[in-house]
């Protein structure tokens, strides 16, 4: 790493600069193309225009309002979908009868495109908050339930033997063996689920909401404010990156033994 490369900078620094350079160069080209009319600014407005719109929306509070509405729905959706999924998935991994009972239901409903059930969810839960929360919940439920079950099934039998020999109760087996043993795969499920949650919140808000980032983008289409659309896209993309980083951080804290395997 200490080897000096281009312009006397260390290899490491050069690589970091290159990493940073590619999006900047892309934005620069985009900006120039927009200004000189190479691309159609009705579809691809200049980055500077998008940024201006971003600042306007920050100042008038519009962005915050929609952002906060989506965040709340995501939070409750993750909670109401994720926690039962975690409990059910681990329990399915531990209990063969429960697995035999529930697994067919999960595998039968899993392949249904989640966006396709939005009309049904709107019908049942109405246009209020609950339909959006349910959509996010459904999105995060499947990856977590499936990964939690697989995670428990992957735990070597000897660990269950140890806990039995040392007199662990069912609850203690759950807490000291099944849950931590399945945690690496569960967190992978959480990451997948968050991605799914972001997809579904966007779709759900486009159709059945008067607030949220999805609504904001849909509304921008209706009033032909392309810049607003891009602001929404960027905010959602950044959210995805931040959530994924948070889970990676949590992983580092609660699964410090992961690199052992």
């Amino acid at each position: 790493m200490k080897k000096s490369g281009t312009f006397g900078l260390s290899q490491d620094t050069v690589e970091r600069l290159l990493n940073f350079a590619s999006p900047v160069i892309l934005l620069l080209i985009w900006e120039l193309c927009a200004r000189f009319g190479v691309i159609d600014v009705r579809f691809f407005p200049a980055p500077s225009k998008i940024f201006t719109q971003f600042m306007v929306m920050v100042e008038n509070g519009q962005l915050w309002k929609h952002f906060w509405a989506s965040m709340q729905r995501l939070f409750w959706g993750f909670l109401f979908g994720g926690v039962p999924a975690l409990a059910l998935g681990v329990a399915m991994g531990l209990s063969r009868p429960l697995r035999m009972l529930v697994e067919p239901l999960v595998s039968a409903t899993y392949p249904v495109p989640k966006s396709a059930i939005l009309p049904l969810v709107l019908l049942i839960f109405g246009l209020g908050e609950s339909s959006k929360i349910v959509m996010v919940g459904i999105g995060i439920f499947f990856p977590i339930v499936i990964n939690a079950m697989a995670g428990v099934l992957e735990i070597q039998k000897i660990y269950f033997d140890v806990s039995k020999n040392f007199g662990a109760s069912r609850w203690q087996v759950f807490r000291t063996v099944a849950l931590p043993g399945a945690m690496p795969l569960i967190l992978t499920g959480v990451k997948l689920g968050i991605g799914m949650g972001l997809v579904l919140i966007s779709i759900a808000e486009m159709v059945g909401a008067k607030s949220g980032l999805g609504f904001m983008m849909w509304n921008a289409w209706e009033i032909l404010s392309v810049e607003t659309m891009y602001v929404g896209l960027i905010v959602i993309a950044v959210l995805g990156i931040i959530f994924s980083q948070i889970v990676t951080e949590i992983e580092r804290m609660i699964v410090p033994w992961r690199n052992a395997r």
């Binding site: 000897i158 033997d161 020999n165 040392f166 662990a168 033994w257 395997r261």
Partner: protein, 265 residues
């Protein structure tokens, strides 16, 4: 050493497999006195692990009875040192060693004292916050031993705990085990395929036959305690005992091999 701790009467185990019934253990009758360091030696597939797993409550016998003297209130009947890696990778050395006590909801102060003592006795105090993957194989097996001793069971069950270790580590750990055992003189049931290990550690050695598993011979080990592993091994009596046990065992190993080749052909 006079009262019987473990009493087996016609204890047997038959597994039903796809190929039909497989007799792992023929009816066995056996008394193990309290405080005895009881060794079981036999070729692989002689049912010795099955026997230990029945005692550990991990298998149920097909027939016969198993009686174990009830431990004093609040103490566990047995704790097992498993063969191979059995430490929870998601727990630190301390948490692993404290596992049994935590499962029994002992007060944290007591856990700290007891676990601290056994980690110190096994030379692991410095590593109490390490995770198993940061330790060598020998150190991991030490934690496993500390975990069983810290739980303070009436009976210690050991399933070839040192089989994966190199010779030097094995001797060190045998010494350590003997030293810790001297503090409490618990009843031990120890499985090994090494005759040397059996004679080094045991008060009494049961030689088992190849499948179906059966007790072939029980030999008393006359050496006084406390023992030092290398000094013991230098004695001519040691060599004679190892040699005579090998005599019993050789037939069994050969018979096991013949059986394997017979089924392979």
């Amino acid at each position: 050493m006079s009262d019987v701790k473990i009493r087996l009467r016609d204890l047997s185990k038959v597994f039903s497999t796809r190929a039909g019934a497989f007799t792992a253990l023929e009816p066995m009758t056996l008394d193990i006195p309290a405080g005895c360091f009881f060794m079981i030696v036999g070729p692989s597939g002689c049912g010795k692990t099955t026997l230990l797993r029945i005692l550990a409550g991990l298998e149920t016998p097909t027939s016969g009875t198993l009686e174990v003297t009830k431990p004093a209130a609040g103490r566990p009947s047995n704790s097992m040192v498993f063969q191979g890696d059995s430490l929870f990778p998601w727990m630190t050395v301390f948490e692993n060693a404290a596992y049994g006590l935590r499962m029994r909801h002992r007060p944290e102060g007591e856990i700290k004292d007891v676990v601290g003592h056994y980690l110190q006795r096994t030379g692991l105090s410095r590593f109490h916050n390490s995770y198993p993957h940061q330790l060598s194989g020998g150190m991991r097996q030490r934690v496993s031993i500390a975990r069983a001793f810290a739980n303070d069971p009436d009976i210690l069950l050991m399933d070839e705990p040192f089989s994966a270790l190199d010779e030097q580590n094995k001797i060190l750990l045998q010494e350590e085990l003997l030293r810790i055992w001297e503090e409490t003189r618990k009843t031990v049931m120890f499985i090994t395929h090494s005759v040397d290990e059996a004679v080094t550690l045991g008060d009494r050695i049961m030689i088992m036959t190849a499948h179906p598993g059966r007790a072939k011979q029980i030999v008393d080990v006359p050496f006084e305690r406390p023992r030092r592993v290398l000094e013991l091994r230098a004695k001519p009596e040691y060599g004679e005992l190892v040699y005579s046990i090998w005599g019993h065992l050789r037939d069994e190993v050969q018979r096991a091999r013949a059986l394997d080749e017979g089924t392979a052909a």
